[in-house]
């Protein structure tokens, strides 16, 4: 394999991988504050992209504003989902929550289907066109790849700062550690849950917007994305966002290079097999600690 | 010796929850394990029943080494237990809850159940009769058809004991059976425990209610922060300086 091709595979791997990482972080944020795996996580990504595409197609909304609106709307949807469906259930079983979030994912997907139809859509490139490229280390790279890497990097860093240094971020972490204790300290735990859905939706939507020019967008691409994001979250040990970044990039690379060994049609299977193998040998995740996972609410 | 525990150790991260514990339980007695909160009593129970595995040490039941066995295998050998927070099966009647308890004494498996083989009819009948008998002996016969979760807290406790008895255990582990019961219910519980002992079942119990423990036990084992503090007859324990200082001295915790 020439270095050039290797670099192409590598870059497409980390591009896709950074999206997986962002979706996985979305899973983690909601999981940490609520103990729920939100099966509708992939839908946020698709909705974000579809809204942004619609806005840019109006012709008079500039791209950055279109993305901003799309992210805001999706954030609103995330909040609405939590308030309408999750907030008021008392002591729900895990089974119930799983089924509810699956239901939400189906409905939002089908709504998207009815609004946007089955066509594959695409955001315009942020800079340049589909053919423009930047030469780095002798390989030509689409500028959009740089956008994706840059913005996902920023998302990760901003989230880290948010959880470490802001009062709200700390409050959310307190809820994750011990909800009852957090409430006794005067933290509005319910508000934090809503907030976690909003943040997840927002970063999902943003991820959808930035990758749409490369991966394209269709109404039903959410569930596979959710599965991959979940695989990454598991690989990293559920709830651990730093590990999610590593896991995401890793999965992206594995998928990208797997094309050499297995037919393209089976590419998606790779991720799932990794998931099953990890669940089999180390349910707490590669980076997760056993003791920690034993404390989680499963 | 019915139960023999040798140098048992268990850590939770940095916490030495059970620290080099050795003791044994003679056939036919009531032995109580007491100690302040967090002394490692429930952990000890979980180690005996196989719910947790020890980091080192061994447990022998009727001279069989049961340390490596899975929980359900240990139960099948004749060790039954109740839980600190009652774990009855929801959406099942009281009677069915007790009937499940007969699991290890009966045989019908998947195939014979699916085919509804004749021997299972007899077995089912036997299970039902036996369960009703146990319910009657604990004065629970009148609520056999009620959903177990609709019962009062005290009655749920008794149903859990009934379920454990249905397995006809040789050793019965009771994890704080009197927790949450009122004085009247506790008195009744003491009667029931003695009645179970009279049937020849050995009892190991963890309990906070000191007067209950001193009233019914033959031997007491005192645990403090994972270590053995004292062991002996109730009256000796009551006089033991260390025990009085660390436990009884605090007032009834």
């Amino acid at each position: 394999m020439s270095f050039d091709i290797f670099l192409q595979y590598f870059l497409s791997g980390i591009t896709v991988g950074s999206i997986y990482a962002v979706v996985a972080i979305g899973f983690n944020i909601i999981y940490n504050t609520t103990g729920i795996i939100n099966f509708a996580q992939g839908e946020f990504v698709i909705l974000g992209a579809l809204f942004a595409i619609t806005f840019t197609r109006t012709g008079f909304i500039p791209l950055p504003l279109a993305i901003l609106f799309a992210v805001l709307i999706t954030t609103g949807i995330g909040a609405a989902i939590e308030i309408v469906f999750i907030k008021w259930i008392k002591n729900p079983s895990v089974l119930r929550l799983i089924i509810i979030t699956i239901g939400i994912s189906i409905i939002s997907r089908e709504t998207a289907h009815h609004i946007w139809g089955e066509q594959v859509m695409q955001m315009p490139y942020f800079t340049g066109t589909s053919t423009s490229s930047v030469i780095i280390l002798g390989a030509s790279i689409a500028p959009q790849v740089l956008w994706v890497l840059g913005i996902s990097g920023i998302i990760v860093i901003v989230l880290q700062l948010f959880f470490k240094f802001t009062l709200t971020g700390k409050a959310m972490r307190a809820c994750a550690a011990n909800r009852t204790a957090a409430r006794l300290c005067g933290i509005n735990a319910k508000m934090m849950v809503t907030l976690s859905f909003m943040i997840s939706a927002a970063i999902g939507a943003l991820a959808g917007c930035i990758t749409s020019p490369i991966t394209q967008t269709q109404y039903d691409m959410g569930s596979p994305l959710a599965i991959k994001g979940f695989v990454v979250a598991i690989v990293g040990g559920l709830g651990n966002s730093t590990a999610a970044v590593v896991g995401g990039l890793l999965l992206g690379l594995i998928e990208s290079f797997s094309i050499i060994f297995i037919p393209n049609a089976f590419k998606d299977v790779a991720a799932i097999i990794i998931l099953l193998v990890i669940l089999f040998f180390k349910p707490s995740g590669i980076f997760g600690k056993k003791e920690e996972s034993a404390l989680k609410e499963f | 010796m019915l139960l023999n525990i040798q140098k048992l150790n268990r850590f939770f991260g940095g916490l030495h929850a059970v620290n080099d514990i050795s003791f044994s339980v003679r056939q036919g007695i009531i032995k109580a394990v007491i100690g302040p909160n967090g002394a490692g009593k429930t952990t000890l129970f979980n180690l005996i029943t196989g719910n947790l595995k020890p980091d080192s040490g061994d447990i022998f039941f009727k001279d069989h080494r049961i340390t490596p066995l899975k929980e359900h295998r240990i139960a099948a050998l004749g060790i039954s237990r109740t839980f600190q927070t009652t774990k009855l099966f929801s959406h099942m009647t009281v009677c069915r809850n007790v009937m499940v308890g007969r699991h290890i004494r009966t045989k019908a498996g998947f195939i014979s159940s699916i085919l509804n083989l004749p021997f299972t009819w007899k077995e089912e009948k036997e299970i039902r009769l036996k369960s009703l008998e146990i319910l009657r002996s604990l004065e629970l016969a009148d609520c056999e058809d009620e959903d177990a979760h609709n019962l009062s807290f005290g009655k749920q406790r008794l149903v859990e004991i009934a379920r454990a008895l249905a397995a006809e255990p040789e050793l019965l582990l009771l994890d704080e059976p009197a927790a949450g019961l009122n004085i009247h219910e506790t008195e009744k519980l003491a009667e029931i425990i003695l009645q179970i002992k009279n049937r020849g079942i050995t009892i190991l119990l963890v309990e906070h209610d000191i007067s209950l423990v001193m009233g019914i036990s033959d031997e007491v084992f005192v645990l403090d922060r994972g270590k053995m503090l004292a062991e002996g007859k109730p009256e000796d324990i009551q006089k033991n300086r260390d025990v009085i200082n660390t436990y009884l001295g605090e007032g009834d915790a």
Binding site: L95, F298 | E71, E123
Partner: protein, 368 residues
Amino acid sequence: MDVKRYRPIAVLLIIIVFIQLICTFTGTEFFLTQIIMAAYFSLVILGLCLLMGHAGQISLGHAGFFAIGGYTSATLTTINLIDIADSGVAGFLKGAGILFLRKDIYGEEILSFSPWVAFIAALVVTILIAFLIGIPVLRLKGHYLAMATLGFGMIITTIVRGTRIFGEADGISSVPAFDLLPVLRVTGKSIYRIENYYIAWFIVIIALIISLNLINSRVGRALRAIHGSEEAARAIGIDTARYKLYTFVLSAVFAAAGGVFLTHYNGGIGPSQSSVMKSVRYVAIVAVGGMDNIWGCLFMGILLNFLTLRGFFGTLEEVVFGGILIVFMLFFPRGILKPGMITSFRNAIRKCGLKLFRMRGKSKQNAA
């Protein structure tokens, strides 16, 4: 023996005959076609009811097992071995009834495995795969189990979509009829419709009897116990891992059997049968049926599949199922058809009667 559990089956039989007669006399026999298909789908539902409602283990991959059954059977009965027909082995297998010769619609000779052999092979394959998947996966709980089974379903979809012998996106067609007995054949031809209607129900009733027997046995109680509290179940000596695994395998066999029969009835199978959406729909139906309520699940399985197959929901089909999932899990997590509904109704009547009786007794005493 306890025969009470079989009584509702007699009622069911009456309803089945009644529906057939109505359809025949009103000239609406075409409805039966969808009822037959719905009946085969409800085999999956019954299996899932045992697994989810009784053992308390979710599976979002049961469409995968349906597809494994259907595809194995379809592949074996359509594979053409005519090139080796003259070899001794083929001759022997033909003589033993393992291979059989038929002509397709173009008059070309096809030598393939007989449907019975294919059926048994499908069940064996399903059992093997269910064990293989079940052993690691059933150690998981909650979300992990849901995702792992979902992943399994997706693997099956990807495999059937991407493999040549499974017909890729087109699936497998021209699957022959399944001669259960020389006179009884599973086929979609309309002259055999009434016959097939009863065959389908016969198979469903077998599944029902198996389920009812299991539920009302020692094993059934153990499953409910596992559902209630795994810890307590283990403490009373139940081998929870084994019971969960066996139930998983049994429910997979139900699903695969549904797949086999429906494939023969429809004359083919496509990759959409294995889709995650199908799996989710099965879960939805079990949820609506009341999870542990076998009769509720059967009723909803027939009704909702029938309506779907009639195109009642139009393009909103998936939205309807998504909505059903949410509404039921939010408001009726135990379904709307309560298992004890009939008994509690009867008890209420009995109580009223008793009260009247007592009142009369009292008034008599008063009079005296």
